[in-house]
């Protein structure tokens, strides 16, 4: 186990990581759990679960935990860097191309339709999130407040999230107190 080895495997995962989200799970299993005895499939599932309840992008966090388990802080930095590198290279190349192509009528026409596809994807994502997150009156109120804050009041999402953090900690405090009684 060395840095080069971690880098190589995570670079490969990064290159195959299309569509984001849970796609990273089978890739980590095939590239890491099946090849290194230090990490089991259960470890990976656990890291993924924790990544969902902490800040940052889920795939990045999961890779960070695996790297950390393998080689400590250096391993975490190496794994995350390797994971994002293919994405970085791809986007820089495309961004360079796109700025040159963006003035062509044919490209503009295609993108006018693609915009509709993007909108549909966003609506689909909202719908999936709604099923998982809005479960009672309490969560519906939070949903509506967050929507109003950004859409009507134009409050920065960061402040809305800070508000949510405070509310969550207060709820936790209340629950911890109620649990003791």
């Amino acid at each position: 186990m060395n840095m080069y080895c971690i880098f190589k495997h995570f670079f490969k995962i990064g290159a195959l990581l299309l569509g984001g989200g849970y796609v990273i799970l089978p890739l980590l299993k095939a590239e890491i759990a099946d090849k290194f005895s230090e990490i089991t499939e259960d470890d990976i599932c656990e890291y993924y679960a924790i990544s969902q309840c902490m800040p940052g992008l889920i795939g990045i966090n999961t890779a960070g935990f695996v790297g950390h388990k393998l080689m400590g802080i250096k391993g975490a930095i190496c794994a995350v860097t390797a994971l994002v590198l293919p994405a970085f290279i791809a986007i820089v190349l495309i961004a360079g191309l796109l700025t040159n192509l963006a003035d062509l009528t044919i490209v503009q026409k295609a993108f006018s339709g693609i915009g509709i596809g993007v909108l549909a994807l966003v609506i689909q994502a909202i719908n999936e999130m709604r099923e998982k997150s809005i479960v009672d009156k309490y969560s519906l109120i939070i949903f509506l407040c967050a929507f109003t804050c950004l859409f009507v009041l134009k409050i920065s999402p960061a402040f809305v999230v800070i508000g949510g953090l405070i509310l969550g900690i207060m709820t936790g405090f209340y629950k911890a107190k109620a649990g003791k009684k």
Binding site: L16, L17, L18, G20, G21, E46, A49, I50, Q52, C53, M54, P55, L57, I58, G59, N61, G64, F65, I73, A76, V84, P86, A87, F88, A90, I91, A95, L98, I106, A110, F111, S112, G113, I114, G115, I116, G117, V118, L119, A120, L121, I123, I126, N127, M129, I134, L140, F143, C145, A146, F147, C149, L150, F151, V160, I162, L165, G168, T171, A176
Partner: protein
């Protein structure tokens, strides 16, 4: 100065966005409104490209936005800025691990942040919808295409590339 600004904006996305995928979108939308580094249409195009290239969408968007704003160095800076918080949090949380998700405060915070994140994304979705259909001239073909896509997405889950291809074909012939 622009570099510091760019770094701080993407660094705060790394700290405050919870959950994967489109969780970064409300932040990117906010940046476009407030700083004008890229327009809403460009954000839309970015999202399309990000859906069909490797890597998490949030990272792709950071690279793209950084590139648009300050070239290669900008994209390097924005991408690093969004992943640095992740690395720091991973190192800290590694010490607690399995106890972390069981903690009552973490659980309560997550139960608030889930619907909150959904609310933020819905605000972006509605804004995109208004921008596409209700401002300027209404395009009936685009609207029919939109309804068709929503209908398909309710029936079955297809990869993002399907919607983008369908959109591109309609865009070219309309």
């Amino acid at each position: 100065m622009i570099y510091l600004h760019l770094f701080l904006q993407f660094f705060h996305i790394g700290i405050f966005s919870f959950g994967g995928g489109y969780a970064t979108l409300p932040f990117l939308y906010d940046i476009s409104e407030k700083f004008g580094w890229y327009t809403l249409d460009e954000l839309n195009n970015m999202l399309a490209v990000a859906s069909i290239t490797p890597g998490p969408v949030g990272i792709n968007m950071a690279t793209f936005a950084g590139f648009k704003t300050a070239g290669i160095f900008g994209s390097l800076l924005a991408t690093s800025a969004i992943i640095i918080p992740s690395i720091i949090f991973v190192i800290i949380i590694s010490k607690f691990l399995n106890k972390f998700c069981e903690n009552i405060y973490v659980k309560s915070v997550i139960s608030v942040l889930k619907p909150l994140g959904c609310g933020l994304l819905t605000a972006v979705g509605v804004h995109l919808f208004v921008n596409e259909f209700l401002s300027g001239n209404f395009n009936i073909i685009h609207f029919i295409l939109f309804c068709l896509m929503i209908f398909i997405s309710l029936k079955r889950k297809l990869p993002p590339a399907f919607y983008l291809m369908l959109g591109a074909i309609f865009g070219l012939i309309s």
